[in-house]
């Protein structure tokens, strides 16, 4: 006698219910992103639409202005965009090489016992709340810069860069490390079998093969750096006007502009802070599009 093949309604229903449960959960993330995007853009674009109830502001003046004086109705953020970009670039330029070399060390070179020290340290670094980074920056980095700089204060572009550099390390290290680990051993064996040294193998075969993963780590690092708020706020100096002229100049990144004033702003001032958020959000979207491109490229291979 064969086994009973009758349709099991109960089982089928269970499968279906589970399916919808998963679907529902997945939509939470999608709806959140859509809601946040809509909300920020809706509020942030108001001032540039003629006839806005709280007053209007020129988009050009907003994007090219070098002064942020809400009391005088001046809302220029170009110097903040520049500050954000310079700080992020600096953090990437310093942090990425350190991060990649650390990842290479952990994944390819370090003896086991050193690996068991470095890995938890990196994971802990990722878990430290950003305000603690800020305190560290304020307590150690800022005073040190004050010794070097001719400026009266240590809060500066350099301080922001150094704090962000440390903050992006865990992202760059972990993602680069997993990209390196994903490189098949057959590549390493092929290279070593030809009499190439370990270092030659790492730099000529392993890292190129892990390239797209590493780039993904760099892009996520950029995202982290440009979006970081709390730690940056404590060490940036946050001037109300002026492009940074040296690494010792204080800066006011986009994020801190919002965080510092949102609690008491109202009317047009508040909407201009939302508009700052729109600019920041746009940067994040661009970064994510780049990231998508990179990771999709690696899947095709």
């Amino acid at each position: 006698m064969g086994k009973d093949m009758k349709l099991d309604r109960k089982n089928e229903l269970k499968e279906k219910l589970a399916h919808y449960l998963f679907l529902f959960n997945a939509t939470v993330a999608i709806i959140s992103v859509a809601a946040i995007a809509f909300f920020v853009f809706y509020r942030g674009l108001q001032p540039f639409i003629p006839g806005n109830a709280e007053g209007t502001y020129s988009l050009i003046d907003f994007l090219t202005g070098l002064e942020w004086r809400p009391g005088e109705g001046k809302f220029g953020i170009l110097y903040m965009i520049v500050g954000s970009l310079l700080a992020t670039t600096g953090a990437i330029v310093l942090g990425v090489p350190i991060g990649i070399l650390t990842a290479v060390f952990i994944a390819e070179l370090a003896p086991k016992w050193i690996r068991t020290v470095i890995k938890p340290a990196v994971e802990l670094l990722a878990g430290i709340p950003s305000v603690i980074y800020g305190l560290f920056g304020l307590g150690i980095i800022v005073p040190a810069i004050m010794q070097l700089s001719s400026q009266p204060q240590g809060q500066s572009l350099l301080a922001v860069i150094l704090v962000l550099m440390i903050m992006i390390l865990p992202t760059v290290i972990t993602i680069t490390e997993s990209a390196i680990k994903a490189v098949p051993d057959s590549y390493r064996e092929g290279s070593l079998g030809l009499g190439a040294t370990k270092l030659y193998t790492v730099f000529r075969v392993v890292l190129p093969a892990a390239k797209s993963g590493i780039l993904a780590g760099v892009v996520l690092g950029i995202g982290r750096a440009i979006g970081e708020t709390m730690a940056v706020m404590l060490v940036a100096g946050n001037p109300i006007a002026g492009l940074p002229t040296s690494i010792f100049s204080p800066v006011r990144p986009l994020t801190t502009n919002i965080a510092m004033e949102m609690s008491y702003a109202f009317g047009l001032h508040q909407e201009m802070l939302f508009a700052t958020g729109v600019v920041l959000f746009t940067f994040i979207i661009i970064i994510n599009l780049i990231l998508n491109r990179i990771t999709r490229g690696s899947e095709l291979k």
Partner: protein, 250 residues
Amino acid sequence: MVNKFSIKNLDMYYGDFQALINVNMEILDKEITALIGPSGCGKSTFLRTLNRMNDLIEGVRVEGEILLDGENIYKDIDVTKLRTRIGMVFQKPNPFPMSVYDNVAYGPRAHGIKKKAELDEIVEKSLRRAAIWDEVKDRIKKNALSLSGGQQQRICIARALAVDPEVLLMDEPTSALDPISTLKVEDLAEELKKDITIIIVTHNMQQAARISDKTAFFLNGELIEFDETDIIFSVPKDKRTEDYITGRFG
């Protein structure tokens, strides 16, 4: 004929596990030696002790002697130099994710050759020696991964030949290939034998019989029998060898 390799009382351990037990073997220059035996018998492990590829695995210990032209390769020698003398071709074709040209030029570049004319010459010569020049000469800048499996394997052979090795270790080089590609690789091995020593691990009994001069039968980490291929496949001395080649186990 001279000895290329002399293996004396070779024991090898992975941690506590002894993978090779007292192996003694003389491998002659410019011959093809086939290593056969069931999975896990130690034949690949043995092959990888010959270019110290096992060094990469943690906890590996080697005792006894392996002499290459009379020099102990486990004494103070430069492993990278050893591996330029002893090339290796792996089970699965493993070209690097770069162009055919860059693959073949990889070894010479790793050893400091930078001049383009010199590299061009080495690349062409190696591809010709690996009998794949005609198939790839128009696609030399294409990614090697876009070639078929059989072509990839011959690219890997060309890549190994580019550093001008004296010995070529082949670890089941045709197990991932179709029958036609397999024949091409076998023909190639016989051609290369004129200049270099070849040691090949294979699961394919016919392959061992077809191309090798000597055959070594391994079982549970021991070298059971090692003799002329004709003898191994017609009148093996050991009962276990006979059982294996007649397909009674393994």
